[in-house]
Symmetry: C2
């Protein structure tokens, strides 16, 4: 196997045992594994011990002076190796408990991190927390003119669409689609709807069920549409099989010229649903142009909205408070004054609570 | 700071560049940081290079022969250090791209793992995936006669109750309580209900709102009740302020003797809600006694159920297919024959989909 198997063990403790007695105690266990050690005495900074064996497995033991011990072992994934490492960690753990005689405040072993595996399982949240997904297959991967497209299979969530390594939608994520459609409070029957983005077809599929007059979807990337039609069918059903249906049309083009065209024509919609990429996280000045871009889409969208119309969009994860505040500031700076409400929703595959906005003309 | 800051960088690549040219290329960048290197030439197993500086920061670079490079750096958390490490990783990453001239298949940096921090942020799922929570406070921690009790604060989920390091319920987890009460399909008005477990008071609080005739809750650990009354108020409201109310009573005792007593008295309930610990994961023979214990609770519960009564319980995460199958096998082996249905629900703080069961007499 190509993957580097990585086991992390963390042992913060409070004890009168000194570093050298811990070293002596653990040494026989690591020697048993055929590992040779190199000790670095860092003086007031404690000890660092490096273990290597001939096959290229290695481990580091770091003893800090302020009562923290960390142990890491990295090894190639081969049959039985995972179990061998777990057994070794069990032995080290028992020995640590023994050496420190109940003076351990915490002793924690983290699940192994697998790197270089066939399927990438680590997809951090928007607020940059480490999350391991239950990915067991890479269903599709390609670069389009616009972005990197991946569809990965999760044991529990079904297929997941990632654009530029950002989780967009999983087949389990009907709550996302329901939230961005107004959480079941709206009556779409006979209505005119414009979707910006939404290339996975999830919103389109749910809308079409509700007998609207006409849904127009503007999405830029044909390759995403094709991949989702094939691999995201629990989200889009058969709605992407054709770009035109009884009550919908898909325009494979950038939504900005579409919005401008409709604006000039004076065409109005009951609902505009913006399913484009999440709002920016950053609040730094260099991102000013991103916010301006976002505001221009908002301005154009509000322009094609009937006086009684509603604009729905996703925001960001609930922890990105600065980004959300910046977005709300944009809402207060539109050409046409608007009011808004927001709702926090749990989207299964996101692993973080997500904010959705409803915007309407004052 | 006490925490060991740990940045992991993973760079699987395909390239004609050999290990030694990567080494030479990265060397100046690491020397700049005042790090001294020790090179281990592992022959057919590639290279391992160890970097150390005087403050005790260290890094490992492992170059595998099968086109995988891993880089890890560990450093104490001090002001500005995190940013310095990110800058270093940026430089190494750029250099790698440069050296391998577009022959990198993937280059991925994972968020830092913080060990020995004041608040523990790593709580794996039932299927042992690594999950970092947004924990920013340890609200309560104590050992009772029965278990370790922790209440941690999550930025997005509010307070979270952990028993023996297992996430039980967060203040965000009304979907859990709704699911274990039958997902809104039941009419509890005027009904007799028995709760087994449920020390966080979430179910009790929701039930009492629905005007039942009488709810009896049997929970063993007074310390959990006290902690939740104080710190889980978004889940339990004021229902745990008194152990007796107009339509409920809390018996602070093990549920087994309670069930036996009610069984002998011939007392019957419309609903039994089992909120005890999740069903076992293991299917190994040594766990047989756990399954027997579980079956005996099921038998006792069904015995106190009216012929039209319903028994609700949580199962396990949807990925623990073997454990779930074993549980369903127990349901088919009860003294009184039963039928069951199950439902998969997204509980916000769990980070994995959870299975809930409804059981009724045939």
């Amino acid at each position: 196997g190509k993957g580097a198997h990585h086991v992390l063990q963390r042992c913060p403790f409070f004890s009168s045992a000194d570093g050298s007695s811990i070293l002596k105690g653990l040494q026989p266990i690591l020697e048993e594994q055929g590992m040779t050690q190199t000790i670095h005495d860092l003086g007031e900074n404690g000890y660092l011990v490096m273990y290597i064996n001939k096959t290229g497995s290695f481990a580091t033991l770091r003893i800090y002076k302020d009562k923290l011990v960390t142990f890491d072992i990295q090894s190639s994934v081969v049959d039985g190796e995972g179990q061998r490492i777990q057994n070794l960690c069990n032995k080290l753990q028992d020995k640590m408990k023994d050496l420190l005689k109940g003076n351990i405040q915490k002793l924690k072993r983290l699940p192994a991190i697998v790197r270089g595996g066939v399927h990438d399982r680590y997809w951090p949240t928007e607020d940059e927390r480490l999350i391991e997904y239950d990915i067991d297959d890479t269903v599709y991967e390609a670069d389009s003119r616009y972005q990197n497209i991946k569809i990965l299979h999760s044991k529990q969530f079904g297929n997941i669409l990632l654009l530029n390594d950002d989780i967009n939608l999983a087949e389990s994520d009907l709550p996302y689609t329901q939230a961005i459609m107004g959480s079941g409070t709206e009556n779409y029957t006979g209505k005119e709807v414009l979707i910006l983005g939404g290339g996975d077809g999830g919103i389109l599929q749910e809308l079409v069920k509700l007998k609207p007059k006409m849904v127009t979807m503007s999405y830029i990337d044909q390759m995403v549409i094709d991949a989702c039609r094939k691999y995201m069918r629990k989200a889009c059903g058969d709605v992407l099989d054709h770009l035109k249906g009884d009550c919908y049309q898909v325009l494979v083009e950038d939504c900005i010229p579409v919005l401008k065209r409709y604006g000039e024509e004076g065409r109005l919609f009951d609902y505009v649903i913006n399913d484009l990429t999440a709002i920016p996280i950053s609040t730094s000045p260099e991102e000013e142009s991103t916010w301006e871009f976002l505001r221009s889409i908002l301005d154009l969208s509000v322009k094609v909205l009937k006086p009684t119309g509603k604009y729905f969009t996703q925001g960001n994860c609930v922890n990105m408070t600065e980004g959300l505040a910046m977005y709300e500031e944009q809402l207060n700076r539109l050409s046409c004054p608007v009011e808004f409400s927001k709702k926090v929703v749990c989207v299964p595959s996101y692993m973080e609570l997500w904010v959705f906005y409803t915007v309407w003309k004052k």
